[in-house]
Structure formats: structure tokens, C-alpha cells
């Protein structure tokens, strides 16, 4: 699903790249946002779904991202990859979502919490115990670790792109991915052994 939508002008006078489309949106051709929406809606939805575990909230968040893209379109410089810019907006939308949900808790406390799980429609996973275990293990990771794993494993962002997104060094991201995977492995094994319900 995560095709590289950012072919440069040099390599392809093909379908417009994400950057070309976003520059058009910035310059007033807002209808071009429809193409970016079609390219990214599923990716963003799954990003939010894996962070929140809540389908309705994830759909709202996808909408919120595109509202913000229009709101901040004038600030798009086009000198970094579009997907990094888009996921910066997505991360901020998610943080604001957490703030609204738990106003009494500090952001750090919210980040430490597991997602509030709606009764998950079982259809997608119920016949797949392994997928269910992995999902539960992922949900038990603190949000920061889950977020970095989701970006790296499912959104196919490169380490340097995640570093740019989070404003940290690449080495820091490598260490965080390593720790998150180790924690996930431990939680998965615990769940598999039935030690944690």
C-alpha cells in the first residue's frame, strides 16, 4: 500500500509527485488535495487505528489531518518530503486528541497509558489468534514506543525521516526502535504464555 508517491521530476514526468500536488494545493489549486487524500487516507487511518485502537476516532483524525493540511497549506515549503510533513500534522492531531480525551492527566501520563479500547469488531482478527496477540501486545506498549514502531514498521518511514519528524538524531531513533521491539517481544511472549491477561 505504501507506494513511493514522491517520484522526482527528474525520474518521472509521470503522475504528479506528492510534493508537486501539495505545492499546487499551497498555490490555490485546492482540488488537488483530493489526489493526496486518495493516496494517504488508508495509511493515515491505519496509523491512527494502531495508536488509538478506536475506529471512529481514527476516522475523525484522518479528517482532522486534511482540515489542518488546508489550514496550514501556505506554510508548506516543499523542501522536505511531503510524507514527513503530513505525519508531523498527524502526530500533532493525535496529541491534541489525547489531550481532549484525558484533560485531567498530563501528557506524559497519557503517553504512558494503553489505548482505551472500544469493543473491537472481531471480524478482522477473530480467526487469527496470532494477529490478535500481536495487536494486544502492541496496544500494551506505551504510546511513544508504539508510535515509533508503527511509523517504522507500517508506514515505511525511513529512520532519518522519523528522526526529522521527531526532531531527534537518527541514532536516537535506532535505539528507540530497538527498545520498542524488545519490549514488544517480551509482552508478546507474556501474552502467549498467558501470564498477562
Amino acid at each position: 500500500m505504501n507506494a513511493d508517491h514522491s517520484r522526482t521530476k527528474k525520474t518521472g514526468r509521470m503522475s504528479p509527485t506528492d510534493n508537486e500536488l501539495m505545492e499546487a494545493v499551497r498555490d490555490g489549486r485546492v482540488e488537488k488535495l483530493a489526489v493526496l487524500f486518495e493516496r494517504y487516507q488508508t495509511m493515515l487511518y491505519n496509523f491512527f487505528l494502531r495508536l488509538t485502537g478506536n475506529r471512529a476516532a481514527s476516522e475523525d483524525l484522518v479528517q482532522e489531518v486534511f482540515v489542518r493540511v488546508l489550514k496550514y497549506r501556505a506554510g508548506y515549503l516543499g523542501d522536505s518530503r511531503f510524507n514527513v510533513w503530513l505525519f508531523q500534522i498527524a502526530r500533532n492531531a493525535h496529541i491534541d486528541h489525547l489531550r481532549k480525551q484525558k484533560p485531567a492527566l498530563s501528557l506524559d501520563e497519557q503517553f504512558a497509558e494503553a489505548p482505551s479500547h472500544e469493543p473491537r469488531p472481531e471480524a478482522a482478527y477473530e480467526n487469527d489468534r496470532e494477529a490478535e496477540l500481536v495487536r494486544r501486545a502492541l496496544d500494551r506498549l506505551p504510546v511513544q514506543k508504539r508510535e515509533i514502531l508503527v511509523l517504522f514498521r507500517f508506514q515505511n518511514l525511513k529512520l532519518r525521516e522519523i528522526a526529522e519528524l521527531m526532531g531527534v538524531q537518527v541514532g536516537t531513533v535506532k535505539a528507540q526502535v530497538h527498545r520498542a521491539l524488545k519490549d514488544l517481544s517480551r509482552i508478546y511472549l507474556e501474552l502467549q504464555g498467558g501470564d498477562v491477561s
Binding site: M1, G12, R13, M14, S15, P16, D27, G28, R29, V30, E31, L33, A34, V35, F37, E38, Q41, T42, Y45, N46, L49, R50, R55, S58, E59, V62, Q63, F66, V67, L70, L77, G78, D79, A124, Y125, D128, E130, A131, V134, R135, L138, L149, F152, R153, F154, K158, L159, G171, V173, K174, A175, V177, H178, L181, K182, L184, S185, Y188
Partner: protein
């Protein structure tokens, strides 16, 4: 290599982004280090397990809400806001940077031309320019007839660089809009034709195309085009489309809005 240095490479090792030298270093280290070997085995297992999570599709309401939001936004914005003239004087805009470089280059060429007693070569320059235009046109036509969709999109792109395309080139673009099997080519051809919207036959061709398109993005692009040029001949075609009841809710809504906009 130390355990710390080795573990730094694990993330790239898992995604396959580590080069052969790096992979060799990791393999060499884990041969002698049981802890790192076990660590990497665990990570590899959990990495693979994450792959079993299926990707889900958002509900159709997401698309409806997005298109409604976009329409609302467009309704309150001027259709093509003119940029401030001062915006052009900033190097943040690649277009300005490129134009500025091109202007400097032209200035240099012009100066050299005048200094060498130029001024006689006007017709020759015009002839050269025509040749370049003809060449682009031929390349565009050739690419538009290729079996590969990416070639055909490239052909569409070439056609946009032709200042005054021939009727043959326009006909190739009409054909691409109507019958290219790839929707991205059709979409690119609609965009290209916007540049030639003042040429006779363009509006009529795109009005006709409305009745043969079934891909929502192309339908929306056609509707946007016809609304933008206020093509009243599209009214009947839009009404028929809406009545036929085969449009997605988003396209139907866009067609209804377009109908209102054209007849305003």
C-alpha cells in the same frame, strides 16, 4: 565491533537497508556474542509477527466527509487566489529560484548576442524554436502510443510543453481522456487539456467524455474543468449523469454542485 555498535545496526538489518559490509559485521559479531545473537533472533521474530496485522480500510464516510469539507473550503475561497507579487521575490519558491537563474542566463546570452553584432538571427531563432516545438510534439505523440502507462503519462507531460499543439496532438489527448485504460493517464490528460482550454473543440470533447468515464477521480477532474470554464453545454451531460444513478455519492454531490455553479 562492540555490542552497542552492533545493536545500532539492528533496525536497518531488519528492514534490509543495511549494506553487505554492515550485514557482514553484524553476522561476524553475533557468531561470537550469544547475547546479541539471542537479541537479534527475538527482534527478527517479533518483526515478522508484526507483519501478520492486516491493513484495514476506513469506512466510506471518511471519503464523503473529506469531499464535503473540500467543497465547503473551496466555496469560501477565491477559486484561484492570485499570489502576491512580492511572493515571487523569495528564494523559498523553487519557481522563482529557477526563473531567476534562467533570467540571468538569458541576460548573459543576450549581452553576448548584442556584442557580437547579433540581431540578424531573428528568423533563424524563430525557425529553431519551431523545430524544438515540433520535436516535443513528435515525442509526445510517440510516447502517447506506447503500451506502458508511465510512458503515456510522460507523453501527456511532453504535450504540455508544446506552446501551440497541433490538432493531432489534441486529438491524442482527447483519445487518452476517453479511452486510456489507465486512470492516471486519463487524469493527466484532463489536466493537460486545461492548458489548451481556449482551443476549439476542447470543451466539446470533455463534455462528451463525461458520459464515458466511470473512475471517480477522472469524473471529478472533468467536472472541475467544465465548471472552471463555465461550459454551459455540460449542463445536459451532468443532468444525465446524475439521473443515471451510477455515480459515487462524492461525485454525485460534486456534479450537483457543478451544475449549480455553471448555471449561476
Amino acid at each position: 565491533m562492540t555490542c552497542e555498535k552492533t545493536q545500532e545496526k539492528f533496525a536497518d538489518y531488519l528492514t534490509g537497508d543495511l549494506d553487505e559490509t554492515g550485514r557482514g559485521e553484524v553476522r561476524k559479531h553475533i557468531l561470537d556474542c550469544a547475547a546479541c545473537r539471542e537479541d537479534l533472533e527475538d527482534l527478527t521474530v517479533v518483526w515478522a509477527k508484526l507483519g501478520v496485522l492486516p491493513e484495514e480500510q476506513p469506512g466510506s464516510a471518511v471519503r464523503s466527509r473529506f469531499y464535503a469539507m473540500l467543497e465547503d473550503y473551496k466555496a469560501v475561497q477565491p477559486s484561484r487566489p492570485k499570489s502576491q507579487w512580492t511572493d515571487w521575490f523569495t528564494f523559498r519558491r523553487p519557481a522563482f529560484a529557477a526563473s531567476f537563474s534562467a533570467a540571468l542566463l538569458l541576460l548573459g546570452i543576450g549581452a553576448g548576442w548584442l556584442m557580437t553584432g547579433g540581431g540578424q538571427g531573428g528568423p533563424r531563432y524563430a525557425s529553431l524554436s519551431r523545430e524544438v516545438q515540433d520535436m516535443r510534439q513528435q515525442v509526445a505523440l510517440s510516447l502517447l502510443s506506447k503500451p506502458s502507462a508511465s510512458d503515456r503519462i510522460q507523453g501527456v507531460s511532453y504535450s504540455t510543453e508544446v506552446k501551440n499543439p497541433s490538432d493531432t496532438t489534441l486529438a491524442a489527448l482527447f483519445k487518452a481522456v476517453d479511452s486510456d485504460p489507465n486512470p492516471n493517464v486519463r487524469l493527466a490528460a484532463v489536466d493537460a487539456l486545461y492548458l489548451f482550454r481556449d482551443r476549439p473543440g476542447v470543451h466539446e470533447s470533455l463534455v462528451k467524455s463525461l458520459s464515458v468515464q466511470s473512475y471517480p477521480l477522472v469524473q471529478v477532474a472533468l467536472i472541475d474543468f467544465l465548471v472552471e470554464v463555465r461550459e454551459t453545454r455540460a449542463v445536459e451531460a451532468l443532468k444525465k449523469l446524475i439521473e443515471a444513478g451510477e455515480l459515487t455519492p462524492e461525485v454525485k454531490k460534486r456534479a450537483e454542485q457543478g451544475l449549480k455553479q455553471i448555471t449561476l
